[in-house]
């Protein structure tokens, strides 16, 4: 692997205090992760996956939405076509992680590979938003990213295990509004990210493009296409 061009950049500071702050910032999403993890574990049991299949899928894939969609369309036979369609499904639903990890690079790029790549394996939507929001406020302690990623990962692994064992006993998350925790948290994160009406034109572009893609294309492309559209709009906004 060749050296990135900014290899000389200062290695970001990683502290225990930052890790604890990241863990604390992740608290609001834990109820949602538990409810979602229970559902993923219960689905794995219902689809006939073994205890270890469920455990290792969550450990190695660790992307609940793509897992639950994949398991709902779980193939009867795992031939090359079935595996290719599972790969395409994961690529579509998880393409947003490509954008998220790319956006962390200017901040965390100088960390040693043995630290950052395991950290990126547990990168999730909430841990990314927490980290980017912290960074936008001027923070630079990389421990926040690790704390906000590690605690949800541990909670997730417990929840999917419990969900697998409890199976059909898992209650309907809709009753307590738990299915809305992630969207509510994401929307709340927009408040600290607000930088005036002009900058938020990028968000409007993202939302409108996502709605159009959702209506016209369907599937899961709308998040990544909308995100790219909004990001590009944001990049060109202040040129005028």
């Amino acid at each position: 692997m060749s050296k990135p061009r900014d290899a000389s950049a200062r290695v970001p500071f990683v502290s225990r205090a930052g890790f604890n702050l990241g863990a604390r910032l992740a608290l609001p999403v834990l109820p949602g992760m538990i409810a979602f993890g229970l559902a993923v574990g219960a689905t794995a049991g219902r689809k006939g996956l073994s205890f270890f299949d469920n455990f290792f899928m969550n450990l190695f894939v660790y992307a609940g939405m793509s897992q639950i969609v994949a398991m709902e369309a779980w193939p009867e036979r795992f031939d090359a076509v079935a595996l290719a369609s599972l790969a395409l499904l994961c690529a579509t639903i998880n393409a947003r992680l490509l954008l998220m990890s790319a956006s962390l690079q200017p901040w965390l790029g100088a960390l040693p590979a043995w630290q950052i790549y395991p950290g990126l394996h547990i990168l999730t939507d909430p841990s990314w938003l927490i980290s980017m929001s912290y960074r936008a406020k001027g923070g630079s302690d990389a421990g926040v990213f690790f704390g906000a990623s590690a605690i949800p990962a541990l909670v997730w692994m417990s929840a999917i295990t419990a969900g697998y064992l409890a199976g059909a006993l898992v209650a309907d998350p809709r009753r307590y509004g738990i299915d809305l925790v992630m969207p509510i948290f994401f929307a709340a994160m927009l408040v600290p990210l607000w930088r005036g009406a002009r900058r938020s034109i990028a968000w409007l572009v993202a939302g409108v493009v996502a709605l159009i893609v959702q209506q016209l294309v369907g599937g899961w492309w709308f998040i990544v296409v909308g995100g790219i559209a909004g990001s590009v709009a944001g990049g060109f906004l202040d040129d005028a």
Binding site: L27, N94, P106, A188, G234
Partner: protein, 102 residues
């Protein structure tokens, strides 16, 4: 054709490789991108853009209860700046609206 006993582990492996490639790949590729103020602004705009692109279609699909819960949570966040309080209020609004048959 693959032996059936290896089907599920093979599926997990494929899903894991593709997903990890997304998490590691964006970060890795970004190191080769030339730095510019525009790239900086694109990265700054990305969190809000991804949230808008995920949440707006979600609201359209889920309907008025989701819209109400998210709007109330947004107002609570705006006033108090406490995300945990905003999330709990939003959940309570959704649970209440559904219990009321909305």
């Amino acid at each position: 054709m693959m032996h059936d006993g290896f089907g599920v582990p093979a599926a997990i492996l494929v899903m894991a490789l593709v997903t990890h490639a997304m998490r590691a790949g964006g970060f890795w590729l970004m190191a080769f991108m030339p730095r510019s103020p525009r790239l900086h602004r694109m990265i700054e705009a990305l969190p809000g853009a991804v949230v808008a692109a995920a949440v707006l279609p979600f609201i359209v699909r889920e309907g008025p209860v989701a819209a109400l819960a998210i709007a109330v949570a947004g107002v609570v966040m705006l006033v108090t700046r406490k995300d945990l309080l905003a999330v709990l209020t939003g959940m309570a609004v959704a649970a209440g609206a559904r219990a009321a048959g909305l």
